[in-house]
Amino acid sequence: MSRLSVPKTYKLAIGGAFPRSESGRTYVVTSPSGEFLANASLASRKDARDAVVAARGAQAKWAGATAYNRGQVLYRIAELLEGRRAQFVDEIVQSEGVTAAVAGAQVDATIDLWVWYAGWADKYAQVAGNGNPVSGPYFNLSVPDATGVVATIAPQDRTGVSLLGLAAVVAPIVLSGNTVVVVANEAAPLSAISLAEVLATSDVPGGVVNVLTGSPAELAPWLASHADVNALDLAGAGSLADGAWVDLQITAAETLKRVLPPVEGAPAPSLERITAFVETKTVWHTKAML
C-alpha cells in the first residue's frame, strides 16, 4: 500500500513571513481537469497594503546593498531552484496539466533566467549610466537608481508561465534594488508560493519580494492607486476583462507611477525591463580652478 502524502498549506509571502490572508478567505486551486489541488489564500486589499508596507520597509537597505551582493543573492536563487527542480516540475505538471518534460523545460528556463539577470546586477549601471562632458568646470555623472516599490501582475496564462512568468517579472525589478509586490498567476499560484519559500531560504531579505495569491482584478486597483508604489508593471494584466488594464494605467496616473503595459506570455529577458524600473540620477560637482 502506498504511503499517505502530506499536502502543503499554501499561504501568502509578505515581509519574509508566510501569513494567511488577514481576511481569512481562500479559493480552490484545481488542475485544468478540475481535480482539487489546494486551498490558496485569497489576498485582500489589506494584504496588498501590508505587502506594500513590507516592500517599502525593505527597499532602502536592499538598494543600499552592493551590486555584487545583490547579484550573488539572485544567483543563489538559481542554485536553490536547481536543487528543488523536482518539486517545481511536479507542481507545474499538476497545476498546468502539462507533461513532465514540458514542465521541466519551464523550470530550466526559469533557472537560466535568474542566472542571466543575476549577472546584470553589477553591470547594468555601466551600460545605463554615463559620464557627461558638460561645458564648464564640473564633474558630471549619470547613474541609474532603483525606482522604489514596484507592483506587478504576473502573467496569467493557464499554461507555460506559472513559474517562469513570475520570475520573468520579479527578477528584473529587484536586481537594481527595487522591492516588489507581485500578484501571482491566479489559476496556478502554487509554484509562486513555493518560489517564495526558495527566496526566503536564499538570502533575499524579507520584504524584497512579496507574493500575493488571489484575484488580480480585485487586487490590482489597490496597488495601482497606492501612493507608496512608484511603478506598475502590468505584464499579466492584459488578461483582465474589458481591457481593465487601461483603467489601472489611468489610476496610476494620479500618482504618476511609471507603467509598463501588458505583454503576451512571460516577458522575454531584456535590459529594457531592468531600465524600465530605474531613475537616472545626475550628480554635478564643481572642479576647483587650479
Binding site: G148, L271, T282
Partner: protein, 503 residues
C-alpha cells in the same frame, strides 16, 4: 550715489522686427487660426506686444497631418547626416540671431536680459548643436543597433524658459527622426514664432516643425490627437497627471517633466560665500520660475543665524526692475495669475506661523512684481514647505544630522533636484546616493547642459531630457536578442556537461 545705484543700462529693442500679428506655423507657412486670437503682453509693463492666433481642434488636425506627411515623405527617408545638417544650421541661426531672441524673450517673459543673453539663448544654440551630432549616430545611443523614430511628437512647453524648453523638445525629437507639433505657453509664444522663421531660414522641409499657439484647450486637443505617437510635456504636476490619464492605453510614448520642491542642503563646513551665491541662484534665478528651484533651504542648525543674516545682506543688493536693463537681477513675474498664486501661498506661510522677510525694494507701478522673500521658522508640515510656489520665495528649515537632512529632503512627493553644500567629498557622495532626486548639484546649483540628463523621480515626472538619455524619449529601442532564449529552449547541455566533468 551709493554703490547700489546705477544709471539705467537698457538693452535696445530696436533689434526686434516684430509683426503686429502672428498666425500658426503649419506645413512651413504661417496660416490663420480658427480659435479666438489673443494678445501676448509684456509682464513688466502689461503692454501688448503682438496678437497671436489660437489653434482650435481643426487647426490641430491640420498641424498633425502636416507633421505626418513630412514624416512619411521626407524626414523618415532622409539620412541621419542630412537631418543633422539641418539641426546644425538651426544652431548657427540661433547664434546669429541671439541678441534679437534674448530681447524678445525678456520682453515676452519678463526675465532679465542678463539671463536670456547669458543663459537661455546660448543654451538653446548648444542644445541644437549637441543633438545635431547625434542624428547620424543613433546606433551608439545604447538603444540597440537600429533604434527607430516614433513618428509625430506632440510637445507642450511652459512659460518659464520658453525658447530653451522648445530646444529641449525639438532638438532631440528631430535628431531621432521624428517630426513635431509644438505648443508654446499662451503667455510666452513670441520666441517660438521667431523660431518658426528660423526654420524657414534654415530651409527645413515643410511640416517637420509645426508651431501652434493657444491655451489649455489647444494643448488638450494636441496631446489627445489620435495620430500622435509621442507626447512630451513640461509643466505643472496637475496637468501632467491629466495628460498621463489621457495617454493611458493609447500606446503613445510619454515623457513628463513636472514640478519640484528642491532641497538645498547646507552643512556647517560649507564654503559660506559660495553657498550664499548658490542659494540665491537656486531660488531667485528666473524669479524662482524654475521647476528644479532650490525652494527649501535645509541649513545645519548651528549656522542657521549666520547664514540667514548673510542671505539677507546679499538679497538687499539684488536689483529688481526693468527686465531689459542689463543691471537687473530680478525681473517680472510672468503673469497676473502666477503673481496671485505666489501672493496667496506667501500669505498662507504667514498665517501658518512662519516669519516673512523681504529686502526693501521699489516695486514698479505697472506690471507683475514680487520682491524676493525668505521665510524662516518653517516646519515640514507648512504649505510653503510642501507646495511648489514657483516664485522668488525661499523656505528655510534646519537639520542637525545628515540623516535628518536626507529624511527632510526626501519628504516630498516630488523628486526633481537637490543641492548639497559641504567641503567634505565623502559626505557629499554619501548624501547624493540617498537623495531621491534626478539632478543633484553639489557645491553649485541650477546648472544645465545639453550633455547632461535632466528629469525627476516620483511625481516630478518621468523620462530624461538632455544627453544620451534624452534620445531614449524619442526612439523605440531595437533591443538586443537575449541569449538566454536559445539555451532555455534547447536541452540543458550545460548541466550535462558539468555532470560529465564531475565524473
Amino acid at each position: 550715489m551709493s554703490f547700489l545705484e546705477y544709471a539705467p543700462a537698457p538693452e535696445s529693442t530696436a533689434i526686434l522686427n516684430l509683426r503686429d500679428s502672428y498666425g500658426l506655423f503649419i506645413d512651413g507657412e504661417f496660416v490663420d487660426g480658427h480659435g479666438a486670437a489673443f494678445a501676448t503682453i509684456s509682464p513688466s509693463t502689461e503692454k501688448r506686444i503682438a496678437e497671436v492666433a489660437c489653434a482650435d481642434a481643426s487647426d490641430v488636425d491640420r498641424a498633425v497631418a502636416a507633421a505626418r506627411r513630412a514624416y512619411d515623405r521626407t524626414w523618415s527617408r532622409m539620412s541621419g547626416g542630412d537631418r543633422g545638417k539641418y539641426l546644425f544650421r538651426i544652431a548657427r541661426l540661433v547664434q546669429e540671431r541671439a541678441r534679437e531672441l534674448a530681447v524678445a524673450e525678456s520682453l515676452d517673459n519678463g526675465k532679465p536680459i542678463k539671463e536670456t543673453r547669458d543663459v537661455d539663448i546660448p543654451l538653446v544654440a548648444a542644445w541644437f548643436f549637441y543633438y545635431a551630432g547625434w542624428a547620424d549616430k543613433l546606433e551608439y545611443a545604447g538603444l540597440g543597433s537600429a533604434p527607430r523614430a516614433l513618428g509625430v511628437a506632440a510637445q507642450v512647453i511652459p512659460w518659464n524658459f520658453p525658447l530653451l524648453m522648445l530646444a529641449w523638445k525639438i532638438a532631440p525629437a528631430l535628431a531621432a527622426g521624428n517630426t513635431v507639433v509644438l505648443k508654446p505657453a499662451e503667455t510666452t509664444p513670441l520666441t517660438a514664432l521667431l523660431f518658426a522663421e528660423i526654420c524657414q531660414q534654415a530651409d527645413l522641409p515643410a511640416g517637420v516643425v509645426n508651431i501652434i499657439t493657444g491655451a489649455g484647450e489647444t494643448g488638450r486637443a494636441l496631446v489627445s490627437h489620435d495620430d500622435v505617437n509621442k507626447v512630451a510635456f513640461t509643466g505643472s504636476t496637475p496637468v501632467g497627471r491629466e495628460i498621463a490619464r489621457a495617454v493611458a492605453g493609447t500606446g503613445k510614448k510619454l515623457t513628463l517633466e513636472l514640478g519640484g520642491k528642491g532641497a538645498n542642503i547646507v552643512f556647517d563646513d560649507a564654503a559660506m560665500d559660495q553657498a550664499v551665491e548658490g542659494i540665491v541662484s537656486g531660488i531667485f534665478f528666473n524669479q524662482g520660475h524654475v521647476c528644479c528651484a532650490g525652494s527649501r533651504l535645509l541649513v545645519q542648525e548651528n549656522i542657521h543665524d549666520e547664514l540667514v543674516d548673510r542671505l539677507k545682506t546679499r538679497l538687499s543688493t539684488l536689483r529688481l526692475g526693468d527686465p531689459l536693463d542689463k543691471n537687473t537681477d530680478i525681473g517680472a513675474i510672468n503673469s497676473r495669475e502666477q503673481l496671485d498664486r505666489i501672493r496667496a501661498l506667501s500669505e498662507i506661510g504667514e498665517q501658518e506661523g512662519a516669519e516673512r522677510w523681504s529686502p526693501a525694494c521699489e516695486i514698479p507701478s505697472n506690471g507683475f512684481w514680487f520682491a524676493p522673500t525668505i521665510f524662516t521658522n518653517v516646519s515640514t508640515s507648512h504649505r510653503i514647505a510642501r507646495d511648489e510656489i514657483f516664485g522668488p520665495v525661499l523656505s528655510v528649515l534646519t537639520f542637525r544630522t545628515p540623516e535628518e537632512a536626507v529624511a527632510k529632503a526626501n519628504n516630498t512627493p516630488y523628486g526633481l533636484s537637490a543641492g548639497i553644500w559641504t567641503e567634505k567629498a565623502s559626505r557629499m557622495l554619501a548624501l547624493a546616493d540617498r537623495l531621491r532626486a534626478g539632478v543633484v548639484w553639489a557645491n553649485t546649483f541650477n546648472k544645465f547642459d545639453p550633455a547632461s540628463p535632466f528629469g525627476g523621480y516620483k511625481e516630478s515626472g518621468y523620462g530624461r531630457e538632455g544627453g544620451r538619455h534624452g534620445l531614449a524619449a524619442y526612439l523605440e529601442a531595437s533591443g538586443w536578442q537575449a541569449p538566454i532564449e536559445s539555451s532555455a529552449a534547447s536541452p540543458r547541455s550545460g548541466r550535462k556537461a558539468r555532470k560529465a566533468v564531475a565524473k
